[in-house]
């Protein structure tokens, strides 16, 4: 007996439901006002069944994987059976199902003949939700109460009637009420589209058959996920990595530690051993730790697995309460995106031991967040926010990508010309750096540098970067990438090195240089084909000196000296011994502190 009762009807149903989630996403990109949503795709859409189980998720932000069921469960716990047709539920409180305050969740229950059959669900990152800093994303808040308006599970609409008190509260507490309302409308529009189309399916299939098919869809994903997990070897693998600091307790490293346990068709990601929660705003909700874990695992699974409850069933995530991976009140979390990116690095490190042929070395350590804000001469505020990263670690089969979004977040970079046209900022440089990527049989992608010149009279500059103290690791003999760096007024007499995370006052003419860390390499650099090294030298991504030191390849005037290369490689080989494996970190690992 095949596991699917009617394979044709099933495939059509699956297609229709995934299409609904995608159409919801298209509706949001079409109707949203803000660039964060359009360019950064910092939103997600999904479809859940009447019990709140995820059935289908739109092709949107990996960082939201699995966060919807958590939020929906919180809303269902709050309202129980007191949910009727025409209600719309919303929330953003990280302590009640949310992720961080800018992410507002909106859910619409869908009823058919009085029966609650489904929920349309959306999350959007809103431009501002109040709090002490414009954009509501400061890294140096130390309590959730500083970060903006907290919305517990609330009815935005009650039986079709808007909750005017809620709308008034929102409008009063946010800096950009027009945008926030427009983006909420986009979320509602997406839910309405989902409702209409889902009810068409129910008309067509009948309610009972629809419920059976939703169930089959969950089981189908579970089967695919378990089949893919089964192909991986069984065992237990742990890995640790370090965040430079939280921007509040400067210079104090923060440990991330994960253990993957894999047995048969099940896998567990356990973050026990990660640092206690920190004062800075980089703590994770458990749901965000789940998202990072799911995303990393997803990268090593074969096949096209629909994202739903079934996929999550095969994966167990553990994170002790009170840690950076599962914060408690009053922990702040607005800038926890950074922790998510670094968790991906950490999780991939463990998975690299489980599946050495599938996993890349550490990426460039992004994403870096840069905010420049202040007041124009006419007393109007300006806020420029840039999130940037763009180089992958080397892979077991190829060099790392350069100039490409991180696997955790498919963000676009903003046009330099648009930035200069709209903000009192000039971008003086945006290009690759040579000799920074980890060397290897395959090298890491080249990271880039960006330089920002302030043209306003005065401004506040906030930077949230990482990997200035802990280099991206290399794999299986590949070298670690080189450190990230922040500097003020480079190449002048006023040049000044800056911490990885800081807030400072700047004035017109000041220049911030940010250099991303170099991603790690993969495999022994002494085995990289000299012709490939020459290519990088010709392209000025590797210098002649770098070719000699990192690869043992002697190049002069774009010509390889074969004999000298052979001799140098032998000498380097003898000096080094076998290539380090599985990891090259390039920095001393800090001693464990109490509680970590």
């Amino acid at each position: 007996m095949p596991p699917i009762s009617d394979p044709v009807a099933f495939e059509l149903f699956k297609n229709a439901l995934i299409a609904i989630a995608d159409e919801m996403a298209l509706t949001i990109t079409r109707t949203t006002y803000s660039g964060v949503l359009k360019d950064n795709m910092d939103f997600s859409t999904a479809f859940c069944d009447g019990e709140g189980r995820l059935i289908a998720q739109g092709l949107t932000l990996p960082g939201h994987l699995g966060s919807l069921p958590t939020a929906l469960k919180s809303a269902l716990d709050r309202f129980g059976d007191n949910i009727v047709d025409g209600d719309v539920l919303c929330l953003n409180d990280p302590y009640a199902g949310g992720m961080h305050l800018p992410d507002i969740f909106v859910f619409k229950p869908i009823f058919h003949e009085g029966q609650r059959m489904a929920f349309a669900a959306t999350i959007c990152h809103h431009t501002d939700v109040g709090g002490r800093v414009a954009g509501s994303n400061a890294a140096d808040s130390t309590e959730i109460y500083q970060e903006g308006l907290r919305i517990p599970p609330t009815k935005l609409y009650s039986a079709g009637q808007p909750n005017e008190t809620m709308f008034d509260l929102l409008r009063t507490n946010v800096r950009l009420p027009v945008q926030v309302e427009a983006d909420l409308r986009a979320q509602l529009a997406a839910c309405h589209i989902a409702e209409r189309q889902f009810l068409e399916i129910v008309e067509d299939q009948g309610a009972d058959q629809t419920i059976i098919l939703m169930d089959e869809l969950i089981n189908y994903s579970e089967r695919l996920a378990r089949a893919a997990i089964s192909k991986l070897p069984d065992g237990e693998w742990s890995f640790e990595d370090w965040i430079d600091d939280d921007g509040v307790d400067l210079g104090k490293p923060i440990r991330l530690f994960v253990t993957f346990r894999k047995s048969g068709d099940r896998i567990q990601a356990d973050w026990t051993g990660s640092h206690p929660q920190v004062r800075g705003a980089i703590n994770n909700t458990f749901s965000f730790t789940q998202a990072a874990s799911y995303c990393a695992i997803r990268c090593v699974l074969d096949g096209d697995i629909p994202t739903n409850e079934g996929f999550f069933r095969a994966i167990d995530v553990v994170a002790p309460l009170g840690t950076i991976a599962n914060m408690q009140l009053p922990g702040a979390c607005a800038a926890r995106g950074l922790t998510g990116f670094r968790m991906i690095d950490c999780a991939l490190g463990a998975l690299a031991m489980m599946a050495p042929d599938k996993v890349m070395a550490a990426s460039d350590g992004g994403n870096t967040g840069i905010s420049i804000g202040g007041w124009n001469a006419d007393r109007k505020p300006f806020v420029y926010v840039d999130f940037t990263c763009g180089a992958w670690g080397a892979r077991p089969w190829a060099d790392g990508l350069e100039g490409n979004a991180n696997i955790f977040s498919n963000m676009a970079s903003q046009s330099v010309e648009i930035t200069e046209a709209e903000h009192p900022v000039e971008i003086l440089r945006y290009e690759f750096l040579a000799d920074r990527a980890g060397a290897g049989l395959y090298r890491g992608g080249a990271p880039f540098a960006r330089e920002y010149r302030i043209t306003a009279d005065a401004a506040s500059l906030q930077v949230r970067a990482d990997r200035a103290n802990f280099r991206p690791y290399g794999l299986y003999g590949g070298g670690a990438g080189r450190h990230a760096r922040n500097a003020l007024n480079p190449g002048t007499s006023r040049e000044q090195e800056l911490a990885p995370k800081f807030t400072m006052d700047v004035k017109a003419g000041d220049v911030l240089l940010h250099e991303l860390a170099g991603p790690g390499g993969w495999g022994d650099p002494l085995e990289r084909a000299p012709a490939d090294v020459l290519d990088d030298v010709v392209d000025e991504l590797v210098s002649e000196a770098g070719a000699r030191c990192d690869y043992g390849v002697v190049i002069s005037g774009h010509t390889i000296d074969e004999a000298a290369t052979k001799a140098l490689r032998a000498k380097l080989q003898a000096k080094r011994g076998p290539a380090p494996t599985p990891f090259t970190r390039g920095d001393a690992v800090p001693a464990l502190e109490d509680g970590a």
Binding site: K38, V178, G403, E417
Partner: protein
């Protein structure tokens, strides 16, 4: 047969299609194998044969329109020019960093398309202009000369120049252009502000580079084609289809070939638009399904929906429009096509979870479907159609290629029906339904993205497999009319004949409307108009045959994406408000809401399109080669209706209307009308209408 004949020529990877339209709508078609080593040869030779068959001579040809894939092929096959790129110091990698976005999630094996100019051929020069057009750092002419000499020494065929903020002040690019003419006269050169004087450095740089990359290839091709045609005494004017659906003369295409990248698929959409109009259908979904892909576009109120940016040279197959970055950005006006990897050759398979899947992998033309007997051993959509009785086992194209029904049945049984526990008939029928669902998703994406509901439109089905799937597609989309044009398999060539000359001009002028100087805007718009009119004049259009349309792209200040608003007449201080209001209305239409009157509206780019209005060609009569076989065949219409005796007809049999089921077999395509459907032929256009 003589008189004034118009020719449409469309090139595909396998076939070159030639359509001849004569007085009173007489139509003659010819399909020949493409000559891959020199595409021009098949055109010249095929045209000679086609003229001969129709009893015509070169002197009867008044006009040749051509949908060329030469530019897109050069990119796909990476056979373009060796291009050097000069940029602003500090910005060597604009072309390679792109927008960072990737088209796939969770895929560590994703590879970016390699930049068309490798880093070693990207150089920068000290210079800087700010966002307002003021010179911050003057262009270092010595460094520029050195950069040019270095690129020439590296053997480049072409040099592109794209400087930061050049849209606001092209002076430095102009200076480099002059310097290039002086120091590298033998090298083709393009500056970004000549190709696309608009804001956003990556898109402008990439568009300029793509133009340079295909330039020598397109020039050589057009030269060879024109030489071949002249040798045959065919001296009618040659024009090329642009991605926008408008024509451009061959010499203009040779100057700015970036506009003809998506030349191929545009012809069909334009033809669909032209043929639907006399049928009283101003809004249609054009549906072009061939062997490997299906493409759809939306025509609303007689105008094809346009996109402002293309991704070229990447994977052609893209199911979702949410993800971008698969190819090279080309910012030109183009017909907005949704493309999905579903065609007759799409493989039917079963995934690890036990669900039936169609494509995107295709058996292609070789080995092709199992039924072709050319070594294909995996079931395809065409095999399903044959099993269901929709295709003639004797084959199409007058029986050139018989189909092996038994082989198709055996493979489908073993690889699809048995593993799923289905009967062979239901497995084949199910495969078709899933293929339809896949294609529907792509079409819904183009319509939903624009807030359009396709249900009131008619489906215009062409391509080798279009009419075979037309009715099912219409049903799936909630539409109730299908149009199958004459010569559906060659319709992209046919459609070219109905296209009009069209040129587009734009310039970024970033101003907040509330405090803008209307005279400045008017002057800029007028200058673009002059450019458009001069070009049209050079092509022989004047007075009433010239038509220009002004468009402004606007947004609320702070937004990152613009909307296009048409504008008629001059702009002056008193009607700037009206332009802002028109934008507000468009914002409400597209986004469902608008901001209050106090919200500043920002102008970003002014555009002008110029059209040359030629004589409307006559409508075609039924194709000369559309006489199909007659008889009956058993065909399967699903578990409820089962196998039914189905008449095989030719188009002419539908003059008085027929009730389905029936199948129309033709030289180049098969049209399927299931039970309950009525089909008739429309006299004026020769189209089959199913409803």
């Amino acid at each position: 047969m003589s008189g004034e004949w118009r020719i449409g020529v469309d090139i595909g990877g396998t076939f070159t299609d030639i359509v001849l339209l004569g007085p009173e709508g007489r139509l003659s078609v010819r399909k020949v194998s493409s000559s891959v080593d020199d595409y021009a040869r098949a055109i010249v030779e095929g045209l000679a044969v086609a003229l001969d068959e129709a009893g015509l001579t070169a002197a009867d040809v008044v006009d040749i329109r051509h949908g060329a894939t030469v530019a897109s092929n050069a990119i796909l096959e990476r056979k373009g020019a060796r291009v050097g790129l000069i940029g602003t110091a500090g910005f060597r990698d604009v072309l390679e960093i792109r927008t960072l976005r990737m088209p796939r999630l969770y895929d560590l094996a994703w590879e970016k398309p390699k930049p068309l100019v490798p880093r070693r051929l990207r150089v920068t020069v000290p210079e800087r202009i700010d966002a307002n057009g003021a010179v911050v750092t003057p262009l270092d002419m010595d460094a520029a000369a050195e950069a040019i000499d270095a690129l020439v020494a590296k053997g480049v065929d072409a040099i592109a120049v794209a400087l930061i903020n050049a849209y606001a002040n092209p002076a430095h690019e102009q200076a480099l252009k002059a310097l290039l003419a002086e120091r590298a006269p033998g090298v083709a050169a393009c500056i970004s502000t000549d190709v696309l004087p608009e804001i956003r450095e990556y898109e402008r740089t990439s568009t300029t580079v793509v133009n340079c990359y295909v330039l020598p290839v397109v020039r050589a091709y057009l030269k060879s084609l024109q030489a071949g045609l002249s040798a045959d005494k065919v001296d009618a004017p040659l024009s090329l289809m642009q991605s926008s659906g408008g024509l451009t003369p061959a010499d203009a295409a040779a100057r700015l070939p970036v506009h003809i990248i998506e030349s191929g698929p545009a012809g069909g959409v334009v033809g669909a638009q032209a043929l639907a109009e006399p049928l009283g259908e101003s809004s249609i979904v054009s549906f072009d399904m061939g062997g490997t892909t299906a493409k759809a576009a939306l025509v609303i109120d007689g105008r094809a929906e346009r996109a402002e940016e293309l991704q070229v040279g990447g994977e052609a197959i893209q199911a979702s429009r949410l993800l971008t970055g698969q190819g090279y950005s080309v910012k030109t006006r183009a017909i907005d096509l949704a493309e999905v990897g579903a065609g007759g050759g799409s493989i039917v398979w079963i995934d690890a979870g036990g669900a039936m899947q169609i494509g995107p992998e295709s058996a292609g033309a070789s080995p092709g479907p199992v039924a072709y007997g050319m070594g294909g051993d995996r079931p395809t959509v065409t095999d399903a159609n044959l099993i269901l009785g929709y295709l003639n086992p004797a084959g199409l194209a007058g029986g050139d290629r018989p189909l092996d029904l038994e082989a198709a049945r055996a493979v489908f049984q073993a690889k699809v029906a048995d593993p799923l526990g289905l009967s062979l008939d239901d497995a084949a029928f199910g495969a078709r339904r899933i293929a339809v669902a896949n294609m529907m998703r792509a079409i819904r994406a183009v319509t939903v993205e624009r807030g359009r509901d396709p249900r009131s439109a008619a489906l215009f089905a062409f391509g080798g497999n279009g009419p075979l799937f037309g009715w099912d597609m219409a049903m799936a989309l909630g539409m109730n009319r299908v149009i199958a044009p004459p010569a559906p398999g060659l319709f992209s060539a046919f459609g070219l004949i109905y296209a009009e000359v069209e040129h587009h001009y734009g310039r970024t002028l970033r101003r907040v409307l509330a405090n803008a100087d209307a005279r400045e805007i008017e002057a800029a718009w007028a200058a673009l108009e002059t450019e458009a009119l001069d070009q049209l004049k050079a092509e022989g259009f004047s007075g009433p045959t010239q038509s220009v349309q002004r468009t402004a792209s606007l947004r609320y200040k702070g937004q990152t994406h613009e909307l296009e608003v048409d504008w008629t007449g001059p702009i002056f201080a008193d009607n700037l408000d009206a332009l802002a209001e028109a934008f507000g209305e468009e914002h409400a239409r597209v986004y469902g809401h608008r901001a209050g009157a106090a919200e500043p509206v920002e102008l970003i780019t002014l555009r002008v399109s110029g059209r040359g209005l030629g004589d409307r060609p006559p409508l075609a009569r039924a194709s000369d080669r559309s006489t199909g076989t007659h008889g009956v065949r058993q065909a399967y219409f699903g578990p409820k209706l089962g196998w039914l005796e189905t008449p095989i007809l030719s188009r002419k049999d539908l003059v008085d209307g027929r009730k389905g089921p029936f199948i129309v077999e033709e030289y180049d395509a098969t049209c399927l009308a299931p039970p309950g459907v009525t089909g008739e032929i429309n006299d004026a256009t020769g189209a089959i209408i199913l409803r």
